[in-house]
């Protein structure tokens, strides 16, 4: 399940960025970029919490 979610996340991340590159090359129009990026965003935030672990980075609070 986590592996599948991870794959979906990376595809969603690509969907957030790649359409802009396709727009740059004239392959798709601006509206397509916006809608694809939105879909990628929604899918990213649904799928990523499934596999992304809790953060255990260094504390920065109160110096």
């Amino acid at each position: 399940m986590k592996s599948l979610a991870k794959i979906i996340s990376y595809l969603a991340l690509a969907a957030s960025l790649v359409p802009s590159l396709l727009y740059f090359t004239g392959t798709i129009d601006h509206d397509a970029v916006k809608w694809t990026a939105l879909a990628g965003t929604i899918i990213w935030f649904i799928s990523t919490p499934i596999w992304a672990g809790q953060c255990e980075t260094a504390d920065t609070s109160a110096n």
Partner: protein, 463 residues
């Protein structure tokens, strides 16, 4: 991004060296810095470069050099001390400068955090306002309000952020960690879309840079001629995080590093956020100018123009995930001087201060100057830490002097901090120098003064 300081199950080693069992591999730091520096501030700072008249060539090469210098400062100034002592900045300062002076420093830090968080509340509010047709406009006066509807929106956004921060920010930290890679992708997408909107899609068009120079000309026609030259860009990029590296705040992060190589981790934040992110955010403004002859650096509107709802979501999350831990840290700093008050109460106080600051749009519009001032005020104390670590014993003086003599205020540290800072603030506000220029001179002066005054005032202490 950070651990929740409120958790009592996790030992944060706040008053002891971090033991080897708690040391972290380099990967943790790379992830943290990527998220920390591709954030809400980038949406504000990037467009301000263009608005200030920076040329695209100066921006590309100036940011490159400045960010390299910032990374080297983290790696070679901060990391060795962090690994050597493995203590938080707060605890080191307490031992060197005294508990009372450290509390004072922390309160100043907290107040500055509130202003930074206020700017981020403005950023988020600018995005929330777009679908409701509530516009973000910058009044002439520094302490002038924007439109009443925008002020009301800032209050609503600020209250929500403050209440969430008071509840303990772990949930938001998780959102921030999840959002970080996506946010970096969105920044890049914004930049690419902006280039297309300006018809800069060929190598010739990109290298000629007319899309940029036209935007500069438009702004200068409206606002008057300004310049933001190469070395000013270098200074800004290097020293915008002066409190973190020169000021040694990131000792608190790198004390967990297993090896010094973790000190290279800020490079991901610098080059993805402070290089790519700033340039892409600036391109958003250039595109807006071309499309609608509007040079207002409204982060929400800029992102909307490029990526629609995705842009709005990104700006909201970027501002929120920066404001939230900043308000949390400010609350902890205030609680440090009022220990009878709960962390929740002081976090709400910090949130209230931040919200009030956020209601003045001109403060966030002056972010370029603010971060330099921030570094000038807080950065010099890092010189005290540097001198204490490397030089005190070498010249026959005692390190950690305040704890050795039981003093709550090390006068040498107090004077060494306040004197350069006062002069720096005078030069910034009375003489109008670019704030980031004051950071390094103030740091050097602080170190020299601390060394000299320590030599004059230290009493013999048993070994």
């Amino acid at each position: 991004m950070t651990t929740d300081n409120q958790s009592t199950q996790v030992n944060e080693y706040e008053r002891e060296p971090v033991p080897p069992k708690a040391h972290l591999g380099a990967g943790k730091f790379w992830g943290m810095y990527a998220g920390e520096h591709a954030a809400g501030t980038e949406f504000m700072i990037g467009p301000l470069f263009l608005a200030a008249g920076a040329s695209i060539q100066d921006l590309i090469f100036g940011l490159l050099l400045g960010n390299i210098l910032a990374v080297l400062t983290w790696r070679y100034l901060v990391t060795p001390i962090a690994i050597g002592k493995r203590l938080t900045l707060y605890y080191q300062l307490e031992r060197i400068a005294g508990g009372s002076l450290t509390k004072c420093y922390n309160v100043v830090n907290g107040v500055l955090f509130c202003f930074l968080a206020g700017a981020m509340i403005t950023v988020s509010a600018s995005a929330v306002g777009v679908p409701f047709n509530i516009h973000y406009t910058v009044p002439e006066a520094t302490f002038g309000f924007g439109a009443p509807s925008f002020t009301g929106l800032v209050v609503v956004v600020g209250v929500i952020i403050a209440v969430v921060a008071a509840a303990g920010y772990q949930a938001v930290a998780r959102v921030a960690n999840i959002a970080a890679p996506w946010m970096i992708a969105i920044f890049a997408a914004c930049g690419v879309v902006s280039l297309v909107q300006m018809e800069a899609t060929s190598f010739a068009a990109l290298s000629e840079g007319k899309y940029w120079s036209d935007a500069i000309a438009f702004v200068q026609e409206k606002e008057g001629v300004q310049a933001f030259p190469f070395w000013q860009i270098v200074a800004f990029a290097w020293l915008c995080n002066g409190a973190m590296h020169f000021g040694m705040a990131d000792l608190s992060i790198f004390r967990f590093a297993r090896s010094a190589s973790s000190g290279w981790a800020p490079s991901i934040g610098m080059f993805l956020g402070h290089y790519m992110g700033w340039i892409c955010a600036a391109l958003l403004l250039a595109a807006q100018i071309k499309l609608s002859q509007d040079h207002s650096a409204n982060p929400g509107a800029l992102a909307w123009g490029a990526l629609g709802w995705t842009g709005i979501i990104c700006v909201v999350i970027a501002g929120w995930t920066t404001a939230n831990p900043t308000i949390y840290r400010a609350g902890l700093a205030f609680q440090g001087v009022m220990p009878t008050c709960s962390r929740k109460t002081m976090t709400l106080v910090a949130g209230a201060v931040a919200t009030i600051a956020g209601a003045f749009p001109n403060l966030s519009a002056q972010l370029l100057g603010f971060v330099g001032t921030y570094g000038t005020i807080l950065g010099p104390m890092g010189a005290v830490v540097f001198v204490d670590y490397y030089l005190m014993k070498k010249i026959g003086l005692r390190d950690d002097y305040a704890v050795r003599v039981g003093s709550s205020v090390n006068l040498a540290a107090l004077v060494a901090w306040l004197l350069p800072v006062s002069i720096g603030l005078y030069l910034i506000f009375a003489k109008g120098i670019f704030a980031a220029y004051a950071v390094i001179p103030a740091w050097l002066a602080c170190g020299v003064i601390y060394l000299a005054l320590s030599k004059l005032t230290q009493k013999p202490v048993p070994a």
